[in-house]
């Protein structure tokens, strides 16, 4: 990419920020803090040590909820995808549970785990589990039979067939699924923190509103959420560039 192409999105964002500032200063009523106000709020959060504290709290919940979901959903998905009978038996249940928004689980999460970290962990887990399960199942089912047959031909045991053929064959699709799911986890954590806990970036947003209509802090929280979400996605995308995983992204 040329330098100009790299600068283009930055220039575009800068132009929007300028427009935003102009619009806010011209507006007779207070509808939104301006970008300078938001920068001030972010600086204030840093000075009070809240930015790092809240970001870490949110990331902690996301990592655990996401990791637990991946740990359960991936092996389960490999199994269900591999055994077509299991898929036939479980698919209707999965299809019913899947479209329920993780937010609909909030009352149940609070009932089961009380107000606290566990409840928000559970919500993230629920939000990640079904997308990951479905991605894994469909990844297994789309593995070309020729790879499995070749593996069998060379005399691989069933266990070796799973870790030498099935697992590497699903990894590229799995990484895409993990990337999308991690995005979902980052969406859910904000909602979960608004209800179930008193730390984290979601909490920052409701708290700033409740404690004196500090909309500059609200928008600061939103900006931080967006920036962290972006860096998570960039991190996951860099996995796709690993050579031994890149094959399905090329012409194969």
């Amino acid at each position: 990419m040329s330098l100009l192409a790299r600068l283009r999105p930055i220039a575009f964002i800068a132009a929007l920020l300028v427009l935003w500032q102009i619009a806010v200063s011209m507006s007779p009523v207070h509808i939104l803090p301006g970008p300078w106000g938001v920068v001030g709020a972010i600086v204030e959060l840093i000075q009070h040590g809240l930015l790092v504290k809240y970001a870490v709290a949110s990331l902690f919940r996301v990592s655990w909820g996401f990791a637990l979901a991946a740990l359960l959903a991936i092996p389960l998905g490999l199994t269900i995808g591999w055994f077509s009978r299991a898929e036939m038996a479980l698919n209707p249940l999965i299809q019913i549970l899947r479209p329920i928004s993780p937010l609909a689980w909030i009352p149940i999460a609070i009932l089961w785990f009380g107000v606290g970290d566990l409840a928000s962990l559970f919500l993230i887990f629920v939000g990640c589990f079904f997308p990951l399960l479905l991605t894994t199942i469909s990844a297994v089912q789309s593995v070309p039979a020729v790879y499995v047959n070749a593996g069998r031909n060379f005399g691989l045991s069933p266990a070796a067939l799973v870790y030498r053929v099935l697992y590497p064959a699903v990894i590229p699709q799995l990484i895409v699924g993990l990337r999308i799911t991690l995005g979902i986890a980052w969406l859910v954590v904000v909602a979960a923190e608004m209800i179930a806990v008193n730390s984290g970036l979601g909490f920052l947003i409701v708290d700033a509103r409740n404690a004196g209509n500090r909309y500059d802090l609200v928008v600061a929280g939103m900006v931080i959420i967006g920036l962290i979400g972006l860096s998570i996605d960039l991190g996951m995308r860099s996995l796709e560039r690993i050579k031994s995983l890149r094959w399905s992204y090329s012409e194969e």
């Binding site: 020729v146 590497p168 995983l245």
Partner: protein, 256 residues
Amino acid sequence: MPSFPVEQTKLSAEHIGMVFTRDGKSTNVLSDVNLTVGRGEFLCILGPSGCGKSTLLNTMAGFLSPSSGEVRIDGEVVRSPDPRRIFVFQERGVFPWLTVEGNVGFGLFRLSRAERAQRIAHYVQLVGLEGFEKAYPAELSGGMKQRLEVARALAVNPDMLFLDEPFGALDSITRLTMRRELLRIWEAEKNTIIFVTHDIDEAVQLADRVAVMTDRPATIQQIVEIDIPHPRDMGSPRYLELRHGIFDQLGLAHKV
């Protein structure tokens, strides 16, 4: 009748029938196929597309169980695929997540590291992929990928190879080169080869004998012995005579 003594029989297919049932409708794909293949023989199975020759090959390799009859290799009934006989797939069967080295070494997990490295080096060289050891299949051409798959198969020292239209997706020039290389490898390794193709020239260039199949339900119409020593002259009268004979067998005209 086979042109070799019975103790030289590598594979025998006896009364193979195959019926596929789908949505309550059954299709008779193979009917009473009988075939004997000698040790070290190069046999081509030739027939029109969709006639069931791949089904027959998959049955002989143990990937499919016949509806009736049985396949015996070295006297034993075939029930499953076996590393002593390797199938080279029609679609590119190389593992895209492994390098050339990784693919060639795929079946060598029972060997020590040193033996494995030595075997990999030998077969990489045999198929002319030196310098590409660390390359991934996506970085190779179609012909190189097919050679890689042949190397992966040969590396486990199989005594039989099943090849299912292995050069079908290659351009005609690469195809000719690949046939020459396959013959060279076969002469060095002395495996028994069963090669499925729909290309008459390919069959006459490669095989010791050509089994000509009929349309579905497929059975073997005739076995043509190709009594020309290698390297074969594609313009020789005997070559053309055999080629024409097979054209007639398949009911094809000699003029386009």
